[in-house]
């Protein structure tokens, strides 16, 4: 059986599935096809391997969202500790994992204005495993200090049960160290180098002397992703599912 190598997107999806390992319930916000695919991949793989069941909630989906209490339910379930993992992004992410979804320049008259903070100023505090995901890896996104803190990476002397777990970009994977409040480079995806990461990151971070390449999905994982998961994605992300198929042909 000849298997085409994983595309860049497939590597990201499989990395997310690995980052989610061990979670029981994972929620995915709207317009987040790669995180949704990663969560669905973990669900499918655990099922195939006879491991613990994973519940996936994809906002904006009918098929993959069992909530019946409207917009309330994600936030209420989160506040009770029922959701183990979630994804956040940001127009800017800084070295202390503060995130900015509002805009650049002097608030409120932002030079560049993004949609807004959504649920971040709540979810980031209360979800144990928040994965920061942003495909673009550049100094304009990964900045030394965000212009506006939609939600801080860490807090002192307040009730906080959640926060950043990792930062995944199109180039690399970082872990977040809650003690030092710094990112540490874990791996670089195929085709990139530790130097590329340093040159394209606007904040300082720790790194091992030899930076490994991000592991590529095994044949079982890739088969699930290309089969069941692509079919599941098509319900809520039809265009993205087509893109995944097109990637393989390219």
């Amino acid at each position: 059986m000849s298997t085409l190598p994983a595309s860049q997107r497939e590597i990201l999806i499989a990395t997310i599935a690995d980052l989610l390992d061990g979670v029981r319930t994972v929620a995915v916000g709207a317009s987040s096809p790669i995180p949704a695919a990663g969560a669905m991949l973990l669900r499918a793989r655990n099922e195939q391997r006879g491991r613990e069941r994973v519940r996936v909630i994809v906002l904006g989906s009918r098929e993959h969202n069992f909530f019946t209490n409207g917009s309330f339910e994600l936030f209420d379930a989160t506040a009770q500790g029922r959701i183990d993992a979630f994804f956040l992004g940001g127009g800017q992410i800084d070295g202390e994992a503060n995130i900015n979804l509002v805009g650049t320049g002097d608030y409120p008259t932002s030079t560049v204005r993004w949609p807004g903070s959504f649920g971040s100023a709540f979810m980031y505090y209360l979800i144990p495993r928040v994965i920061l995901f942003r495909e673009e890896h550049s100094p304009r996104v990964l900045v030394d200090r965000v212009d506006f803190v939609s939600a801080p990476g860490s807090s002192e002397a307040i009730h906080r049960t959640g926060g950043p777990h990792a930062l995944l970009t199109g180039l690399a994977l970082f872990d977040f160290d809650k003690e030092t409040k710094r990112f540490r480079l874990r791996s670089v995806h195929r085709g990139g180098s530790a130097e590329d990461v340093r040159a394209n990151t606007g904040f300082d971070y720790d790194a091992p002397e030899i930076v490994p390449i991000t592991p590529e999905p095994d044949a079982e994982t890739l088969a699930l992703l290309r089969g069941r998961v692509t079919a599941e994605l098509a319900e809520c992300y039809p265009q993205f599912a087509e893109t995944l198929v097109a990637d393989r042909a390219a």
């Binding site: 409207g70 979804l101 209360l126």
Partner: protein, 272 residues
């Protein structure tokens, strides 16, 4: 209560200076009613997006009818950023009250319960707090060393949304979109457009009654077939993504926006 009226009569109830709660794109947005409201040009509206908005808020902003915008985000989803919103921010066209989704929901719950505020986790340390004098940090009165944010109750003058159906008694089926009920409970009155009006009471069937907003909360209902277009309505039709993308492209410039809105108004005039 629950009067069945024409779309124009419904739209006429939105007047200058009112606080209007709007539903998010997936929950049923009253777009046909928005066209009718735009024709009346009520000014200085205070929009409360529950908890985010898209094209609807962008259009009201672009038409210069918004004095205050309270929202957790304005986005056109896959079509990208909301261009009139971003332009309005740059030009300080309205007062911006940036929020986070559960804080808006908590404010509505306080409104629904008739209490002055509601506590909510998170938020402390976010820059959102700096520009929200209506959000404060208090000490948890039941525990030591537990600061917590409280948000002021939100009591909109009007809640506005689009739903699949109402019965002729004024009850409205909202299904699993429970935040629509919270909007209605908190608001002084609720205006609803629906795909259709049915003869049988929606409360008659025990299997579906729980997903129904009773007429008690509903001020007026107007029938508007495809009333969420170009947005979708769960269980009825999907978003016309090509049309939303066309809006996103045209609304990038003031001229393009004006041209789009002219066509938008004409389309609804033709239907009415």
């Amino acid at each position: 209560m629950g009067d069945i009226v024409s779309l124009e009569q419904l739209a006429a109830q939105v007047r200058d200076g009112m606080t209007v709660a709007l539903s998010s794109d997936h929950a049923g947005v009253a777009m046909a009613a928005t066209a009718a409201i735009l024709a009346n040009r009520p000014n200085n509206l205070h929009l409360v997006c529950v908890p985010i908005s898209g094209m609807q808020a962008d259009m009201l902003i672009g038409e210069g009818l918004v004095g205050t915008l309270e929202t957790s985000a304005v986005t056109l989803g896959e079509a990208g950023g909301a261009p009139r919103f971003a332009d309005g921010i740059r030009n300080r066209a309205f007062t911006m009250k940036d929020a986070t989704c559960p804080a808006i929901l908590a404010g509505l719950v306080a409104g629904q319960k008739g209490v002055p505020f509601m506590p909510i986790r998170g938020i402390i340390g976010s820059d959102l707090l700096k520009s929200r004098p209506d959000w404060k940090i208090i000490d948890n009165p039941f525990a030591e060393d537990d600061p917590i944010v409280v948000v002021a109750a939100i009591r909109p003058d009007i809640a506005l949304f689009h739903a699949p159906e109402a019965d002729r008694f004024g009850n409205v089926r909202i299904g699993r979109q429970a935040e629509l009920a919270a909007m209605a409970y908190a608001a002084k009155t609720t205006l609803v457009t629906v795909e259709r009006i049915v003869e049988t009471s929606l409360l008659a069937d025990e299997r579906s009654a729980a997903g129904v907003l009773p007429a008690l909360y509903v001020g007026a209902i107007a029938e508007a077939k495809n009333g969420a277009w170009p947005l979708g309505l769960a269980g009825e039709y999907v978003t016309d993504t090509a049309e939303v993308a066309r809006y996103a492209r045209m609304a990038r410039s003031a001229e393009g926006f004006a041209a789009y809105m002219k066509g938008f108004a004409q389309r609804f005039e033709a239907v009415a």
